[in-house]
């Protein structure tokens, strides 16, 4: 049986301080280098995931993004087998799969069965690569569930570079991307390169997914890419606000998860996904209640008007 202890912090901090002194709390959190790196990588990854997630949700690509991360698992384990860094295989597999998905464009919608089958097969392939690799299975577990407490300073630099490039690409493509996302037919007539943007977006998404895998792993990617954006979409109808809310939520989920995981000896992935899921449930509940409160009086007034002479 694989050792799951790698998912929590490496060695329990000796009775870490936790109390009302916020300054001391923060000092405590950043006492160790591994915590600093976790916060640095977690923040840039969450920012990217939150921003791109807004487009993922708007374009109806949540499942495709999830599938992409599973394909990345096969790539990452394959890279380990070949003696390469997992991120190399992760990027190679997700980017090529993303390009194919992007070329399919709108035809990707409703391909749940195909995506699901490729997902399952990728996990199976990853399992084979893990078995062939005679070392410990802990690397595979780390890829599946994230290994944010094992990130080195160099990896933080690589992740940050990737994040900056991803965000720059999104800023550059912002308006045409929004146009094709909301109104593909008109965008095409207006000269927007619809197909090229579709491919480019999926490749950018592949990079963002590969980054996020470091923090939450292949299986829990929904928590960072989809959940914040899905909540943002419920609370605002303005694209710019939606993107900002989504990014802020993703960062908050990550910070909260990392903080809790520092004090409680359970996997950080569990905390981040639980916070994300809980927030989504609360957001749905609040928007449902708000909709009911505004819908009822209006319906009542309309009925009054209609019946009055």
């Amino acid at each position: 049986m694989a050792d799951l202890s790698i998912l929590a912090i490496p060695s329990p901090a000796a009775a870490p301080y936790f109390g009302w002194d916020l300054v001391r709390d923060v000092q405590e959190l950043f006492r160790y280098a591994f915590m600093q790196h976790a916060f640095e990588a977690g923040t840039v990854v969450a920012l990217t995931a939150g921003v791109i997630g807004y487009f993922v949700v708007l374009r109806g690509l949540s499942f495709a993004a999830h599938g992409l991360s599973h394909i990345g698992f096969a790539g990452a384990t394959g890279a380990v087998l070949l003696g390469l860094q997992p991120i190399v295989g992760l990027l190679a597999f997700t980017m090529s799969a993303g390009a194919v998905m992007g070329a399919l464009g709108q035809r990707l919608r409703g391909r749940d069965v195909t995506i699901g089958l490729v997902m399952a097969w990728s996990l199976g392939l990853g399992l084979l690569f893990t078995a062939l690799y005679k070392g410990s299975a802990s690397r595979a577990i780390g890829i599946l569930f994230g290994q944010v407490f094992g990130i080195t300073g160099q990896e933080v630099a690589v992740t940050s570079t990737a994040a900056v490039l991803t965000l720059l690409a999104l800023v550059l493509a912002y308006r045409p991307l929004l146009f094709t996302t909301l109104d593909e037919q008109v965008a095409e007539a207006k000269g927007v390169p619809v197909r090229g943007l579709s491919i480019a977006f999926m490749v950018i998404l592949a990079v963002a997914v590969s980054e996020a895998v470091q923090v939450v792993g292949v299986l829990l990617i929904f928590a960072l890419i989809v959940a914040p954006a899905a909540i943002a979409e419920r609370v605002t109808a303005r694209p710019i606000h939606g993107i900002m809310v989504s990014a802020v939520l993703a960062v908050l989920f990550t910070w909260a998860g990392l903080t809790v995981a520092y004090y409680v000896p359970y996997p950080v992935g569990f905390f981040i996904t639980t916070i994300a899921f809980g927030s989504y449930v609360v957001a749905r509940l609040l928007t449902y209640l708000a909709a009911r409160r505004t819908a009822r009086p209006r319906g009542w007034r309309e009925a009054q008007v209609r019946h009055s002479p």
Binding site: L58, V171, L172, A173, Y174, R175, P176, L178, F179, L182, D183, Q185, V186, A187, E188, A189, K190, G191, V192, E233, R234, T236, A237, R238, P239, G242
Partner: protein
Amino acid sequence: MARSASLSIVAEGLTAAYGDRLVWQDASFGVNRGEFVAVLGPNGGGKSTLFRLILGLLSPAAGSLVVLGRRPQRGNPAIGYVPQRRDIDPDLSIRGRDFVHLGVDGSQWGVAIGRSILDARERVDRAIDAVQARAYADRPIGRLSGGEQQRLLLAQALAGEPEMLLLDEPLASLDLRNQNVIAELVASLAQAKGFTVLLIAHDINPLLPIVDRVLYVAHGGLAIGKPDEVITTERLSRLYDAPIEVLHDSHGHRFVVGLEAESAHHDG
């Protein structure tokens, strides 16, 4: 060419085809600047294909087409286009205003900065006011009624400050009252700004008071003329190559009888 200066569309021997599949052929017609033309004909007859040609999304299989003095080119800012009514996801959490905004600068790269943000906002406001949609422009577009959505999509086309409007079935799936309201709105905008309008419709009756000419696209050919000239038993029977009868009611409305069976036969 003095003749083409007053014409916004000139087609000569124009033929439309998707690969080997011929849609219609050898059409020659002109549309005057500022003219309001209703495009009629059976489903699958090639009405939207005509729009694709004008927009430069499809190249002519034969013949020539000149639009606003140039060969059609994708991304022509002088053309405002409203495609056939798209089913907007009722859960889509995007304001109508943001949809309209796409018509201003949606195809430009990067994000808007500085003065252009205010300019764009002003143009969006003007377009929304032009279709009288201010009251609901800030609500999520998915939750608006069909007529309200249609107004905002029209505003999106207007926001690009076009010279020509191509409207693909803007009246479909609207109730009778809204059909008349939208038709009159388009007509008054076209008159005020001098737009050339091509509007695809199924039913000519809401458009009869406002159209200059009708363009029939059917059975591999096109016919253009005043409603009185084209929507007649003889012309349509000849165009469809089938017995068609045009009936008039006491309000001057026209009813084309025999088309339903024809198009059913055609589609099947």
